[in-house]
Symmetry: C2
Subunit: 188 residues, 2 copies
């Protein structure tokens, strides 16, 4: 927005390379992946990495914003394809799968669902929350979702379900199971 001057060509190149490598590294080693190693694999000095991304968090966010935005878009797709209740369930499922598969994304999605302090993340957290709101209100209207659940509560519960499923080994079946329990409740 306030990007007055465009990045120099070499800078832009390095920036992109870092993002690509970082996404791989975080997916592989989790969010603790070595930053110097990422720099090395991207063929740049560590100074360059830290200039573009002052903190580990900044890099993590930048590497995954597009996926986070992807979740938001996916919500609207599902809303078009399925009846509200199913769309919501399916979206939560995909959210959980994504959270587990891409190891570095766990925390990130968690934060996107909290009052963030990062502009970048806040922006796309807002998109995700917006998507959740649309799905939730449609499902409510249909009568398939209880009236008093806040969208953000649902997102946090999904995050929790992903955590639970991860303890199981993180397969899609575990996620489905825990989502079912959550949906239907535990009562006898």
């Amino acid at each position: 927005m306030t990007q007055v001057r465009p990045m120099r060509a070499d800078a832009r190149r390095n920036y992109e390379r870092l993002l690509t490598v970082a996404a791989e590294a975080f997916a592989e080693h989790g969010e603790g992946a070595s930053l110097d190693d990422i720099a090395k694999r991207a063929g740049v000095g560590s100074g360059t990495l830290y200039r573009h991304f002052p903190t580990r968090r900044a890099l993590l966010e930048a590497a995954y914003v597009d996926r986070l935005e992807g979740f938001a878009r996916r919500a609207d797709e599902l809303a078009r394809e399925l009846p509200p209740g199913q769309a919501l369930t399916e979206w939560l499922y995909e959210l959980c799968v994504g959270t587990i598969q891409v190891r570095g994304m766990r925390t990130l999605l968690g934060c996107a669902v909290t009052d963030g302090d990062s502009t970048l993340l806040t922006a796309c957290g807002t998109q995700v929350r917006g998507a959740a709101e649309r799905l939730v209100s449609a499902a409510r209207e249909e009568g398939s979702l209880r009236g008093d659940v806040e969208p953000v509560e649902l997102l946090r519960l999904a995050h929790g379900v992903a955590g639970a499923a991860e303890l199981d080994g993180g397969g899609g079946e575990s996620i489905r199971r825990y989502l079912t329990l959550l949906t239907e409740g535990l009562r006898g």
Copy 2:
């Protein structure tokens, strides 16, 4: 069990000191607390720390086994004091509170609920799972819990709920809310 020879007095003293300090440090700084710092605060060299506890994990486990065992004992207390359904709910609540309050315990409880590779943890994980089983079967018999929930699933869900509540700020109210949603289900 195969501890033929008792520890020498000074060794035992150091061991105990390390445990005390470690529990404090982990509670305060999370499981990433500096080990050398723990050694220093306990007044021993880092060599001593690593001799007693070869890995961070070993120390973390040793520092919290008693609390984990405490959870198991607490289950039986609650079973005596309250009707089965309530006892279960209350236990899960306390489990979540403990998980959040003692920062280092999060992962630990998670692992206690998975097929562990540590003898120490497996032992007390078994206690916790046993306690969960007793509460679950009582609640089932009473008819307040659906018949197809495995105790271990419940433990993992509780872990997830703690995660969700932590995103909220981790207050007791959040935990209660999420447990309620889980218990009653999300249906409209």
